[in-house]
Symmetry: C2
């Protein structure tokens, strides 16, 4: 089934304890659409860049089957740029530079051919841009997944709450869930947040795995234990891309299938963090992906027949 | 099979965001032996208290089938006392008072009837006391499980390393695993620690679950999502008691059975934290325990047949 993705397409400059990069390709929608392209060949992208963005990379996205007809290229303007530094534990980071550039007045224009997606992934963006995009579609998608972050809770909470009423699944991390709900207990937080709109809530806990909440059901997905986490940038977006890509390819939004989708998303994210930027998710061997999903299944499998 | 438990039997005074207690019964060996008593009726206890320790509580342990013939009662002396305060996130705490009292010169004397246990649980104590106890047994137990903490890494690392060469399973938390190994990556840390002696390593991550390492195998057990964590005191010891109690009752130390034992230990610990002190593990309804174990199994179960 068709999947539409929005979010940032951008330059990142990253410092980790293992090294630093110059400006490399990043952005939520880049990671989401690349990850999703492993599962479905009907991925469309709505985003904006400046004319400093390399055509080679757009060609690469196209080679992955990603339709970039909704990628606006603003002549004479610069792409969104983010620079950050990760601390030793790799679970926390500080932002060094944020240059909004073309993102400052991003108007998500939807080409006719992309206006009726079956699945919609709203990558991290201003909540008002996310809701505008939903309102411009010609039909309501079967499933709308939204990612957001604490930044929008701080400066655009009303917009965020309005957008939350329009989506089915929200993905945030544990700190953000606590901030949005005002509750420390994640099970209580999940109820408060789901009362704001989304019927499903995914709480990402980084190296501690992920939780999926729906009605009275909870699923706890482990995180892969990696020798080294090289660069966590994009891990959450890659997770989201694997998650919604798997759902779109199977066209099954049952709770049971969402659990599988979370394992696929986690497997994709585990590749992402093994190298800087998008390097490690550009060419994942399908057999390696299969093996990693099986490793995830084994990781928390217990046989209670005995 | 028979299980011998050592560790502290003590008074605790606890403050949490939900309230505070006067001196209540605590201590690692108390939690371990109570939790284990749900699985096997052959539990023996080696510990020391002062004559301030209530006979009623010793009677209660006996009613649970715990053999207290190895519990030394020091006339004219006082029991070990610990007082601590938990912070709002319940994952960190500060020690307010530590009065060693009888623990200062604890000599673990083993009655003849308890000297040949099939299973041995070394609850948190000075490592030299733990190793002394092992050396006094008339045969090597089938499985020796050791718990310890950062305190001993700081002040008695050489003793700790010596004791590590004598045990099969070590249980510590993630911070302690990082301290003991000098490695942030838990998979690397687990290799370094297992090279010190224990063939199995359990890393307890509190609200994030637990990990079991053995050779090239890893198991990730989820933690139960609770409405409220009321008092984390004793959770790790209750976990250990459920773990070794289940192993002793099934007399199966395969990796597969250790995975089940971790789920049972986690279920016991989830009851422990729902009330102050030992209150909630004194009388667990077997049907409630069964239901909680099933809830754990469901929590991370994914069906990949599809």
């Amino acid at each position: 089934m068709s999947l539409l993705v929005t979010g940032t397409v951008a330059f990142d400059a990253i410092e980790t304890p293992f090294g630093k990069t110059d400006k490399i390709i990043g952005g939520a929608a880049t990671y989401v659409s690349l990850a999703a392209s492993y599962f479905t060949k009907q991925v469309g992208l709505i985003a904006v860049v400046g004319d400093d963005f390399p055509q080679d990379y757009i060609d690469l996205l196209n080679q992955k089957g990603i339709d970039t007809s909704g990628l606006q290229i603003k002549s004479g303007e610069k792409s969104f740029f983010w620079s950050g530094r990760y601390f030793n534990d790799m679970n926390s980071r500080e932002t060094l530079i944020t240059e909004l550039n073309v993102l400052a007045d991003f108007d998500p224009i939807v080409p006719e051919a992309l206006s009726a997606p079956d699945y919609l992934m709203l990558g991290n963006l201003a909540p008002v841009v996310q809701s505008t995009l939903i309102s411009r579609l010609s039909k309501r998608p079967k499933l709308v997944v939204m990612d957001t972050m604490n930044f929008w809770m701080d400066i655009a909470l009303d917009d965020l709450k309005k957008t939350l009423t329009m989506v089915d699944v929200l993905t945030i991390n544990d700190e953000e869930a606590r901030q949005l709900s005002g509750e420390y207990s994640l099970i209580k937080a999940s109820r408060i947040i789901r009362a704001m709109g989304p019927k499903y809530l995914i709480i990402k806990k980084g190296e501690h795995g992920a939780l999926l909440f729906h009605e009275d059901q909870v699923f706890f997905a482990p995180a892969m234990l990696l020798e080294d986490v090289f660069d966590p940038t994009g891990a959450g977006d890659t997770f989201a891309g694997g998650f919604i890509g798997y759902l779109a390819s199977t066209d099954d939004i049952s709770f049971e299938n969402m659990k599988r989708a979370i394992i696929y998303g986690s497997a994709m994210a585990s590749f992402c963090v093994e190298q800087f930027g998008t390097d490690n998710i550009l060419n994942i061997d399908p057999n390696l992906l299969k093996a990693r999903v099986e490793a995830f299944r084994q990781l928390s499998y217990v046989d209670f027949l005995k």
